[in-house]
Amino acid sequence: MEVEITIDGKKIKAQKNENLLRVAKKNGIYIPSLCYYEKISPTGVCRLCLVKVENMRGLVPACATFVTDGMKVIANDEELFELRRDILDMLLSEHNADCIACDKNGSCELQDLAYRFGLELKNRKFRPLWHELELRRDESSYVLSFDSSKCVKCQRCIKACYEIQGKGVLSFAKRGMETYLVAGFGTWKDSECDACGECVQACPVGAIVEKPVFERVRAIDVEKKVETTCPYCGVGCQIELWVKEGKIVKVRGLDEKPNNGSLCVKGRFGFSFVHSEERLKSPLLREGNQFKEIGWDEAIRIFVERIKEIKEKYGPESIAVLASAKITNEENYLLQKFTRVVLGTNNIDHCARL
């Protein structure tokens, strides 16, 4: 149902029960936010998107408010600006803003907000206190690193893990200022984590970052981003390859179908093979103990000849076919059809054994 609401005096049409923050964003009205992440349920904890809504008590988080007909919203005024700036200032006081050496430098949501609100060091009200808290680093995962001093406790990782991946590996431990993110009961390595990297992609700051595959890399270092399909399996996840000096240095899930940004451990982290010296680049023919590089045409010709010979001499049951998850479902279908109809055997299997 379509409703009409007013934000900062501007009349806006929206769908009933749509998220107020999203409606504002869609209509070009800026409301700062940090914990809000489209793919998960609204959390409403960073308190940056607080707005005033007529007939609602106190200030309400836009991200956790659903629009109703006739709703009147003040999304920006001096009081709200000052409050948001102070809240941001609080966040910065517990944040290890060592941006110079941070992977997220240039692509950090907190950095963007601080910049937008003009919170350079001299304008800060609150003294830094992140260094007084116990530093909790978790380097135990093969694929990611966690640094508590950069965490803003937005819960995006926690909810991404629970709501998107259905895993629920992450949660908070302790209370108050000592609250910190914990995987499982202690370390990432000993947790149920599948290393999908959903949390890495959800993290707005540099608290959870990928372990470097070749070298550390920041978004601003990337020369080229290539949108492509993940080669690992038939799902066809859309990915974005970050390329630097002709090399793939990072993979991000693209917010498109079918994966909506999610990836599995292989798709996200398993790309080092691309640049491997040992990677097969053309068919090889074994002669004695030596391999000889040949062309595809020749390879297919040899294969056809040999398979025919074998089938005639030993019968079709002497042949078996192993299919791969790296090809599509359709290709796999064709392969089994080929095996049964052309080769004449049911000896076909697939590598996927989960």
Binding site: R47, L50, L59, A64, L83, I87, F126, L129, R175
Partner: protein, 1016 residues
């Protein structure tokens, strides 16, 4: 179980109850158990068995009876008396005298019972302390589960909700949401499943209401939940109770299993086709789980963290289903509303807050414990009538309600009715019912810090303002208490506190700043003291003072140091230490109210040390040895004039000489000393002592002009004085403004004392004298009248002994000498007939409280009575005779001079004022403190450092064996002259301690200052 079974059990139980001659109730509430009430019960059982008395006595182990302070206790029926503060050894006497002979053991009976219970109204607590909480039949006997029966038999769910709505019941967890409305919203919600949750996660420091209800009457909660479930259409309930309440958990477990066995929980309850069951969920100790959405998350097995509301639990609660979540007390109230009707319930309380509320009264109050009062009762009635006021005569400072979410309410609001709206308006909240009483020994900054420390560490940590904001607030408070506060800290505190309040996600963060905001509102001066003056008057913030005694002294005399000297027998050093702050040791040792002793840490152990008597030893020694001070060798050129030669002017003069000046002192009387000479009679302060101390000051380099009245400060300035100190005291008597007070038989107290002190002989032989007033002047006037051979001396005071401003020892001595007190009376007319004086009085009552937190007296209509006297002396207060300077200096409404509190400078630069002229009638030691302070600020005014030449403070090393003095010892009291001798002359009453005893007293000192560093 069917309805008839319920009736049968009730009747059987009631019949059985009549069989035993005595019913003895032993308290096994948590508080009594910790004072070993179980031992009392064992001893009782043992004794009764031994004497074969078991059939005469029924012993009932109950939950909390209320007066926790008096535990362990026994309540005995049919006499309906409490035996309190029992030990095992008392039990044989109770059995022997009471049970066997039927005589009450008077010495163990609780005397405050009536005042404690008089203003209470027990509804929810009516069973607590009266039934065995582990016996469901005991509950049934008291109409237990009959409300549920009534609901199932006679009422539709809608009717139940209507009844609760009409009753006006509001949530007892603190926020006060209408319970009926909550149920209605849940009822209207369509869902396949609904839930009822009882919030028993009571976590406020100082709150133990829910605990007592769960421990004392668990079935009432279950019954309330069942009724709620019936009303909203739920089949399942949870009680979320904190793990720290093992006894409550145990009793709930017993109650639930008994209720299941009796068919009062489970399927087809009372065969009325209604199913409902309850499970316990044990909280793991997170304060935030008291917040409803966090509590629900916790029940669901998640980390207990709140989520934004709406949606509220009635829309989407446990497992996403409509859920009613109410507090323990709310559920326990329900059955009373059902049984007695909503109109009965709504007849109790105020317009918007109905019924009764339980409070856990704790802190600095005589009767701590659990009280249930009708809404609308005033805070003052709870603290003073039920609670009995603050112990040890300490000054009441505030009531903290609502725990860490609440605020501190000052004495000026004691008339505040206790209801949801009034408390909120005052900056506090009703909260779940914790009520902590604070007295003068509590520092409000520290109090705010304590609560913020609590909420800071209990914050769930997800929302920014609560997690980070509270930490910054705590940091500011922490540095203020450590003397490192900055001038703009208060603005910062207020700003951040309001931001945290307005922007936090849940109730915890939204209310956590309340303790700060309310103390900033009502006790801002304490914050300013800490920040600007580095002072903690309550002697709590340890970085700001060496010892409570010196910190409390208005003249800041370094008590702990001179006491240490006396420990070592170094009397001269002790004397010199005293002179650094107060040049009147001998006088003060006789007349000072000794604020220091009231704060002495030793007093918490046994008795405070006798500081005044210790002082007297070295002060008299110094007088005897005639220790003198040389006038300054090189004089500073600036000239200072002092108007008024009382304690303040003289002290200023002395410290000016130490700073290198030669001041000129103008005094209109014949002699120096002011009120010390003309107000205080020689039996308290012998003139010889005063003369010696004054001459020591004068000889230190003061020019004195006696019988010289000054009436203009500008004139003095034009005569070449560079600064003037106005210390004219407060000697203008106030009047009653009643008929006949100008009659010659009605004397002015100050005038009367002055005449006596000037040596005039007044003969009151055989006269009946009335003194009006309750301060030191009144005591002195009365005691002087006795010494002038008056036949009868009466003292009329419009309040009671408790409120008297005079020192307690003065009142005691006056009574010993024969002064008769007429409390709660006020003269309304003085009529002369013949030679006599007919005084008409009206009797006074006390109602409500004034702005200072004192009881308000009011005349009781038609209570007039008359008494014949010969003379009346009015001593009802004085004010400064400031009119003389009214054209030059700014004057406050009460007649005192307006000065800057830190420099004591008046509206004219270079003109300072202090003592009673600024304070109104106060104490000598306060006047002395002002004198010294003004000396320093005058020196600074001239551009000097203001540093007195006494050098750095050095801690005094002691060599005696301190351990010997750590065991409990009462203080040594000085010898007083016999009454007969006292009232026939003006000889000094107090004879002081011997040197040996004084050293003993000094050695009782705990040396609080030892090894301390203080921020200045």
């Amino acid at each position: 179980m069917k309805r008839d079974d319920l009736f049968r059990i009730k009747e059987e139980r009631q019949r059985k109850a009549k069989e035993a001659k005595y019913e003895v109730f032993t308290c096994s509430g948590a508080s009594c158990i910790s004072s070993r009430s179980l031992e009392i019960k064992e001893a009782l059982l043992h004794g009764l068995k031994k004497d074969n008395l078991m059939d005469r006595v029924k012993i009932i182990e109950t939950g909390c009876m209320g007066p926790c302070q008096e535990g362990p206790l026994l309540y005995v029926k049919p006499e309906e008396i409490y035996y309190v503060r029992l030990t095992k050894e008392d039990i044989p006497e109770i059995i022997g005298t009471h049970i066997k002979e039927g005589k009450i053991v008077e010495r163990l009976v609780w005397r405050n019972e009536s005042s404690f219970f008089e203003k209470q109204k027990k509804v929810v607590l009516s069973n607590s302390g009266r039934i065995d909480p582990e016996d469901i039949e005991a509950y049934i006997e008291k109409d237990g589960y009959f409300a549920l029966l009534k609901v199932l038999e006679e009422m539709t769910p809608e009717k139940v909700i209507e009844e609760i709505l009409k009753s006006g019941l509001r949530g007892r967890g603190g926020a006060g949401f209408p319970t009926g409305l909550k149920w209605k919203l849940a009822r209207e919600r369509e869902a396949d499943e609904k839930f009822v949750i009882c919030n028993a996660d009571e976590g406020d420091p100082g709150a133990f209401m829910d605990r007592a209800v769960l421990e004392g009457d668990p079935h009432a909660v279950l019954e309330g939940m069942a009724i709620a479930a019936y009303a909203i259409g739920a089949k399942k309930g949870y009680i979320y109770v904190r793990a720290e309440y093992p006894l409550a958990i145990k009793r709930l477990e017993i109650a639930i299993s008994q209720a299941r066995n009796y068919g009062l929980l489970g399927r087809n309850i009372l065969e009325k086709n209604f199913d409902f069951d309850v499970d316990l969920r044990i909280g793991a100790g997170a304060f935030v789980c008291g917040e409803e959405t966090a509590l629900i998350a916790s029940i669901e097995g998640k980390r207990g963290m709140p989520r934004p509301r709406p949606p509220f639990p009635v829309e989407r609660g446990l497992w996403g289903k409509p859920t009613v979540i109410n507090n323990v007390e709310t559920f326990a109230t329900v059955r009373h509303i059902i049984l007695n009707g909503s109109s009965w319930f709504s007849s109790i309380g105020t317009e918007n807050s109905k019924g009764t509320k339980i409070f856990a009264l704790s802190g600095k109050v005589e009767n701590t414990g659990l009280v249930e009062v009708p809404m609308g009762i005033t805070l003052g009635e709870i603290v003073f009538d039920i609670g009995g006021g603050t112990p040890k005569g300490k000054k009441f400072k505030a009531v903290q309600t609502g725990g860490p979410s609440g605020g501190c309410i000052p004495p000026s609001l004691l008339n505040l009715p206790v209801d949801y709206e009034s408390l909120k308006e005052a900056g506090a909240i009703m909260g779940s019912g914790g009520m902590i009483v604070l007295d003068e020994d509590n520092c409000m900054v520290n109090m705010a810090k304590y609560f913020v420390e609590f909420t800071m560490s209990e914050s769930c940590g997800q929302c920014t303002p609560c997690r980070v904001g509270l930490k910054h607030l705590y940091d500011i408070l922490d540095r203020i208490t450590k003397g490192k506060g900055k001038p703009d800290d208060l603005i910062r505190l207020e700003k951040i506190a309001k931001e945290v309040r307005d922007s936090s996600l849940c109730g915890l963060g939204q209310t956590a700043p309340n303790p700060i905001l309310s103390t900033l509102d009502y006790f801002r001066d304490e914050y300013e003291d800490h920040i600007l003056r580095k002072r903690c008057k309550a002697s709590v913030c340890a970085s700001l003072f060496f010892a409570p005694c010196s910190n409390t002294c208005p003249a800041e005399v370094d008590v702990s140091r001179y006491v240490a000297y006396v420990c070592e027998g170094k009397l001269e050093e002790a004397f010199l230490t005293h002179m650094e702050n107060n040049p009147f040791p001998a006088s003060c040792s006789r007349i000072c109210p000794a604020f220091c002793e009231g704060k002495c840490e030793r007093g918490k152990m046994d008795d405070p040390i006798s500081i005044r008597e210790i002082k007297r030893i070295f002060a008299d020694y110094a007088l005897k040895k005639d220790i003198r001070f040389d006038p300054p060798k090189r004089e500073k050129k600036e000239r200072v004039a002092i108007i008024g030669g009382g304690p303040s002017g003289l002290s200023l003069a002395f410290y000016l000489t130490r700073l290198g000046y030669r001041p000129t002192l103008f005094e209109e009387s014949e002699k120096l000393g002011g009120m010390m000479r003309y107000g205080i009679p020689p039996y308290r302060l012998p003139k010889r002592i005063l003369d010696l101390e004054i001459s020591r000051i004068v000889d230190a380099g003061v020019d004195v002009r006696l019988k010289k009245r000054v009436s203009s400060v500008r004139e003095l300035l034009s005569q070449g004085f560079d600064a003037v100190y106005v210390s004219i005291g407060a000697s203008l008597s106030q009047r009653l403004n009643v008929e006949g007070e100008r009659s010659p038989s009605v004397l002015d107290g100050i005038e009367f004392l002055r005449r006596i002190n000037e040596g005039e002989k007044i003969d009151l032989q055989g006269k009946r004298v009335l003194v009006v007033g309750g301060g030191s002047t009144a005591m002195d006037a009365a005691r002087v009248a006795l010494r002038l051979k008056a036949k009868d001396v009466f003292l009329s005071y419009r309040r009671t002994r408790l409120e008297m401003p005079a020192q307690k020892v003065e009142v005691e001595e006056a009574e010993e000498e024969g002064v008769k007190m007429l409390f709660l009376t006020n003269p309304v007319a003085f009529r002369t007939n013949g030679g006599g004086l007919e005084v008409e009085f009206v009797k006074m009552g006390l109602k409500g409280f004034d702005r200072m937190g004192r009881r308000n007296p009011y005349p009781i209509e038609g209570s007039q009575f008359s008494m014949p006297f010969d003379i009346a002396i009015l001593c009802i207060g004085q004010k400064p005779n400031s009119q003389i300077f009214s054209e030059e200096l700014e004057i406050e409404k009460d007649g005192t001079f307006k000065v800057d509190p830190d420099t004591l400078m008046t509206s004219i630069p270079g003109v300072f004022a202090g003592g009673d002229a600024v304070l109104g009638p106060a104490t000598v030691v306060e006047a002395i403190g002002h004198g010294r302070k003004a000396a320093i600020s005058i020196d600074k005014y001239f551009g000097y450092s203001g540093e007195l030449p006494f050098g750095e403070r050095q801690e005094v090393k002691t060599t005696y064996n301190e351990e010997e003095f750590l065991k409990e010892t009462r203080r040594k009291k000085p010898n007083l002259k016999a009454v007969a001798e006292r009232i026939t002359s003006f000889v000094e009453v107090n004879e002081g301690l011997s040197l040996e005893d004084a050293i003993f007293e000094a050695r009782r000192c705990l040396h609080c200052d030892r090894g301390k560093r203080v921020v200045r």
